[in-house]
Symmetry: C2
Subunit: 484 residues, 2 copies
Amino acid sequence: MPLSADNPRSATPQDHLDAVKKLLAKQRLVEDLVHRQASDDGTRKAAIVESLVHKQNLAELQKRLDGLHPADVAFILEGLPLADRLVVWGLVRSERDGEILLEVSDAVRDTLLADMDSAEIVAAARNLDADEIADLVPDLPEEVVQDIIEAQDVDERARLQSALSYPEGSVGALMDFEVVSIREDVTCEVALRYLRRFDELPAQTDSLFVVDRDDHLKGILPLKRLLVSDPDIEVATLTDRDVASFSPDSDAEEAAKAFERYGLVSAPVVSADGRVIARLTIDAVLDFVRERQESQELAKVGLREEEDLFSSVWQSARNRGPWLALNLCTAFVASRVVGAFEGSIEKLAALAALMPIVAGIGGNSGNQTSTLIVRALAFDQVSAANARRLFAKEVGIGALNGALWGSVLGIVAWGLYHNAALGAVMALAMLLNLVVASLAGLFIPLAMERFGRDPAIGSSVFLTFVTDSMGFFIFLGLATVFLL
Amino acid sequence: MPLSADNPRSATPQDHLDAVKKLLAKQRLVEDLVHRQASDDGTRKAAIVESLVHKQNLAELQKRLDGLHPADVAFILEGLPLADRLVVWGLVRSERDGEILLEVSDAVRDTLLADMDSAEIVAAARNLDADEIADLVPDLPEEVVQDIIEAQDVDERARLQSALSYPEGSVGALMDFEVVSIREDVTCEVALRYLRRFDELPAQTDSLFVVDRDDHLKGILPLKRLLVSDPDIEVATLTDRDVASFSPDSDAEEAAKAFERYGLVSAPVVSADGRVIARLTIDAVLDFVRERQESQELAKVGLREEEDLFSSVWQSARNRGPWLALNLCTAFVASRVVGAFEGSIEKLAALAALMPIVAGIGGNSGNQTSTLIVRALAFDQVSAANARRLFAKEVGIGALNGALWGSVLGIVAWGLYHNAALGAVMALAMLLNLVVASLAGLFIPLAMERFGRDPAIGSSVFLTFVTDSMGFFIFLGLATVFLL
């Protein structure tokens, strides 16, 4: 995005990170050199050189950081190993600490906060709004939170306490308090004059919230409409009354869908009695969507956001261990199914070679079904009325694919082991396991949804458990009955 | 989101869908009744009754649809089986066809377009902007596209051809042409007067693009700043010159990241010589992000967006078949690895029962690593400089988890089969396979990225292939060497 050569945004965050890395490397080079000289000529001269070049280098780094958007500084901090990260963090102006803490990932935020003392954290919070502080609070020590709350003025403290009272995943946890509202019985001229009293309107303000004398929401007045309208017209005439508004208790996910569906930029948040108390912006919604998506992506393989690229081996292994243990348990049960047929396998070792295919393709096929169902659940497209239709469809596909690929594999097995009966058992087992996989792919997400769990996350463990165990059981069972 | 009882947006799209389903069910009930009566009393009276109730019902449905946002109508169409979907589609006013086609998913769009003749499609396109038509074109028959292009006026045709010339995934494919620009040498007063000549500014207009006499981009003027400023100030004074702008050839994903990072609502798209030619809005960016995410989610299990909940069994099986075939091939190779050790398995059938555990946990562990790497790649956080560190870290975690869970399983196997050597082989195989899995989880996504493939999509097939084959090979190989 070239605008001019000295435009900081024309460089990508990656360019900034590379430049910072280069400066840090230069720094280390100087330090190395000085340390090597130190052992030869004594330390005094070396210390002087070091401190001079050091200072020059650091000043250059600091100047670069000062010119960057907080999101870009966050990107740099996330891209650096811990030692370098803390050097850079030390160079960030303390009045920017707060906004940068808001931008970095959880894992990196923890490392930065660990490097700050209570006074620094309280000072950082002083530059933030109530809703922003509320976002940081879960990562802060209890006593620091108390200090921060006490450092606020009365209004801000009330807002902070209100923002803190809503659980993650609610609109209340995403909303901010930078509301600009206008009475409906004034003219546009008055509205424009009122706006001119602001130094600048809050970010992402695309409309004014139109209220009555008691702050009850009446609708919204889009700025773009205000701008094109005759100043003598009354606000009420231009007010859009068919607007999406949310309660602080609303589900943030539902709100995100509404933002997407209706192309919203900001929307009012109203109390139970219809008063405007806050607003929700596309910025907060987008952050929420991305974070939820990421943590879901990680949770699917048993990871939490606390781990980043540079976490220690020990910390990472602890983070990943429980998931492996869970999978170990399910794999163990599947293994016992095989164990029950050890007699058959001793007689016909080909069974051991073929059984993973039956189990594996069942898992693949079941995952296709469950991915579709999880997606349909997310879009509220599964209902009691169409469940029967889905059931018939998925079982049909399982049977069709099972018959097709079962036949292919049956013929291959026949050719490979010169055993037609083995081929037939293989084909039949594939067919049956793909039908089982379809049913599992359909019912496991539905059951998880019913029991209030996120079907996107745990479905695949259960599914693999079913398709593995049943795949082994069906194949080895059929083989024991028909072949031995 | 309650505002008033008769506010259509206070109901969720699900409520609308339920209401439509109820009306459709009532309709079917009447038809059934009439048909049953018809066989008793002859057809004339029945036909009269049917047509009357029919009409009344349909009128009610149509009225309801007319009041809904296009996105809500799209939601309803997506939630209905084909026959009902076409009934509802027939009731949508033809001037709304275009905007609704834009909102529905690919699979549903295909079914709706199949129900329209060329003239209807051309008429629907007449109500759309050039960039919107360009979004539909990939789904339309060649000759209809020609008709649509010919039906445009000269300006729109040029825009349409420009929009069509950019590939999917570029900014050019997302941009629209509703640019509002202003010269920098005028006063705010003049700017405001200019704006008042519009009936309404385009959706998602949060700033004016400031240009010179030749349409070269100079910066942007946020509407919220224009509103609070003294009318006598020159536009140039208020212009924000540090702005993100994009070229139509820019990567849409990079643009999406910039929107997210800097909280943008709209941004100018400029030609190579710096002229403003179009704009990019958060609405288009959000659609892009969601669609890409969804299609990635589906592609991971070998599905394409062409399949929806109500696709036919045959169509769905064809959609899912190739993925199963690919997995069949890799499973077959893994099976041949086992086949090579059939002699060992005949002698010790316990190997067959234990080998799926080694392979399976390897797959789980490798998927954890590759998920982290894929995510880091998406955020540009993997570089040559930190690759070595990542390598050491991932191998360390693999070894640590392998030693831990390998020991656990080794002891379990020992206890189960009263064979200490078997337990030791099991433990060693787990350790080795988890290290292999770490390496595979690290290098497979990096290699895919290097070869220009999306690492999020294909990584898991390759990974499972490696962890299965190597898991079987390591375990059975060690067992053959040390146990037999």
